[in-house]
């Protein structure tokens, strides 16, 4: 079953007295499987936040259909199963974290549970600041409180817009740990983050959104796969001529070579030739791209 199913989603922001509107989404089709960790990436102005707002019913689509957890995002029963952290969560400065969680729990239709709220604050690393006023919190602490708020009531779907924004590197590791725990628990994670390394570490599926359209979507390893190209590192002192004859091309670094091999047999044949020429293999990996390279090449090709 799909946690999020979007077909032909279009959103045009219209302004009074202007004929042409601003097209934020131009027919997005996207399916997020239940239980997956899905990352949405793309350049600024790609329509990522509008997409998130559309799947939560905060903006109304111009065209297309949106189904979340099998129902309409307008349905309060569906929304009760969603935890959401907006990009710039505005928190009431004069309140304490516990008071804020208490109020949000009531608005979510949950029975406020002080002990559970304290455990949640402890989980996001805010136990010591639980009774301090939010106005005195740092940006990272506010973000942690936002995450705690999203986690209230153990939601089935977590929609997080830049969850680690403002959090220090150690804090990011903690947040990543919490998100991975949630994924293991069976929660579907929908993550929008500018930190591609973060997305790469947490998500198993990724969609690239640019100019209001999904350019690529799929499993992370499929997107970052470099095809039939392999990177091979040999111990120093190899015969470059013999390796070139075996089909190896010299890479940038010392001892690094690249080889094209359609399958395992072709790869082993090339390696056998290299070893026969006296080369000692020390490292072998698929010549893949990181997410940054995937994003850059995809967006660049579409431009």
């Amino acid at each position: 079953m799909s946690a999020i199913e979007v077909i032909g989603l279009q959103k045009t922001y219209r302004r009074a007295f202007r004929r042409a509107g601003n097209e934020a989404l131009r027919g997005v089709d996207l399916t997020v499987p239940e239980g997956s960790a899905f990352g949405l990436i793309g350049p600024n102005g790609a329509g990522k936040t509008t997409f998130i707002k559309a799947i939560l019913g905060i903006v109304q689509p111009t065209a297309g259909t949106v189904k979340v957890l099998g129902g309409s995002p307008e349905d309060p029963r569906i929304r009760a199963r969603i935890g959401y952290l907006p990009e710039r969560l505005h928190l009431p400065g004069a309140w304490t974290a516990t008071a804020f969680l208490h109020t949000v729990a009531k608005l979510k239709g949950l029975r406020p549970d002080g002990a559970a709220h304290l455990r949640l604050l402890e989980r996001v690393g805010l136990a010591e600041a639980a009774l301090r006023k939010i106005g005195g919190y740092s940006k990272g602490m506010r973000q942690r409180l936002g995450l705690a708020t999203a986690l209230l009531g153990a939601p089935s779907l977590l929609v997080l817009d830049e969850p680690t924004d403002g959090i220090d590197p150690m804090g990011r590791v903690e947040v990543r740990g919490i998100l991975q725990e949630e994924i293991r628990r069976g929660t579907t994670l929908f993550l929008n983050s500018h930190l591609l390394a973060e997305t790469e570490r947490v998500c198993d599926r990724v969609a690239i959104l640019a100019n209001g359209r999904v350019l690529r979507e799929g499993r992370l390893e499929e997107l970052s796969r470099g095809g039939a190209r392999w990177a091979v590192r040999f111990a120093p002192g190899v015969d470059s001529g013999a390796l070139a004859a075996a089909g190896f091309q010299a890479g940038g670094a010392d001892g690094l070579y690249h080889v094209e091999a359609a399958d395992a047999a072709a790869l082993n044949l090339a390696l056998d030739k290299a070893r026969a020429a006296g080369a000692l293999l020390v490292e072998l990996r698929r010549d893949g791209q990181d997410l940054e390279a995937v994003l850059t090449s995809t967006v660049g090709a579409a431009a």
Binding site: Y13, K53, L56, G57, I58, V59, Q60, P76, R77, R79, A80, I82, Y84, P86, E87, R88, L89, H90, P92, A94, W95, A99, T103, V104, K106, L107, K108, G109, T149, V159
Partner: protein
């Protein structure tokens, strides 16, 4: 209804954290305390024989208590009516724009609430605040004079409730303004304009004579016909506070006018809020 009360609670909690609202409540309390400690009224057989304020005797004729208290209750009713509405406009102008600020409204809209819960809850929260303030102030006054003179009347309390009803219409316009433009200043301005318009509407017949007959006068009469007659309601509340006969023909019609206007303004606000993207 629970989400509606939830949002009202959210607004009240926000109000409780604002210093100027707390200062206002402390101010009312201090005023009532000063009045109860410094004012000495000597009542003999239902007549006010002597009055001392801060130990100084105030010269007046011996009159019945209810007659003696009339001007005081009338003055209090006007202060509560106009002062209360003005304070409400300033103090509450920020609630709705603040609730609709980026980062907060998205969070609220993603919660299991209907959109009308958010707007309705804000209205309910602000009106609860206004009602509590009005009842606290007028109730305190009633209690002090009741205990000191033995003369009990619900007049000041009813006057305060009328002020709340008027503020409801004013706040409905402010809330609707917030759905159109997220600005506390413009919300306050719209409330203030309605208050001024409502005062003028109450005196529309004598004022209309200032205009020459023709389009100008008709336009003035047409515009003021649509506005709630707040000054008439203020006069009625003062007369009720002083237990005097009402000058207006029908208080019910006046209140119905204010109610219809308020509901109309709210309906526009709900319609706008339902269709708005944040």
């Amino acid at each position: 209804m629970r989400p509606l009360f939830g949002i009202a609670g959210y607004v009240l909690r926000e109000a409780a954290s604002r210093k100027f609202i707390l200062a206002f409540m402390v101010g009312i309390t201090l005023l009532l305390l000063v009045l109860s400690l410094s004012l000495k009224l000597e009542v003999l057989d239902g007549a006010l024989a002597a009055t001392r304020l801060f130990g100084n005797a105030l010269n007046h004729r011996i009159v019945a208590v209810d007659v003696a208290l009339r001007p005081l209750y009338m003055a209090c009713a006007y202060v509560v009516f106009y002062g209360g509405i003005l304070f409400g406009i300033v103090a509450c102008s920020d609630f709705a724009p603040s609730l609709m600020s980026p980062g907060r409204i998205e969070h609220l809209l993603a919660l299991p609430l209907q959109r009308w819960h958010i707007l309705g809850g804000t209205f309910l929260g602000v009106m609860t605040l206004a009602l509590c303030g009005a009842i606290y102030g007028s109730g305190g006054l009633l209690l002090i004079f009741g205990v000191k003179t033995g003369y009990w009347t619900l007049g000041p309390l009813i006057a305060a409730l009328l002020a709340c009803a008027s503020f409801a219409a004013v706040y409905a316009v402010m809330l609707t303004t917030a759905t159109l433009v997220r600005s506390a200043a413009l919300c306050a301005a719209s409330g203030f304009l309605l208050l001024v318009g409502g005062i003028i509407a109450g005196y529309r017949t004598p004022i209309s004579r200032v205009f020459e007959e023709g389009l100008g006068r008709r336009l003035f009469e047409g515009v003021t016909l649509l506005l709630p007659r707040l000054s008439s309601l203020a006069n009625a509340s003062a007369e009720l506070a002083a237990s005097q006969p009402l000058e207006v023909k029908s208080l019910e019609m006046l209140l119905a006018g204010v109610l219809v206007f308020g509901l109309g303004a709210l309906a526009v606000g709900f319609w706008r809020f339902e269709g708005k993207d944040y």
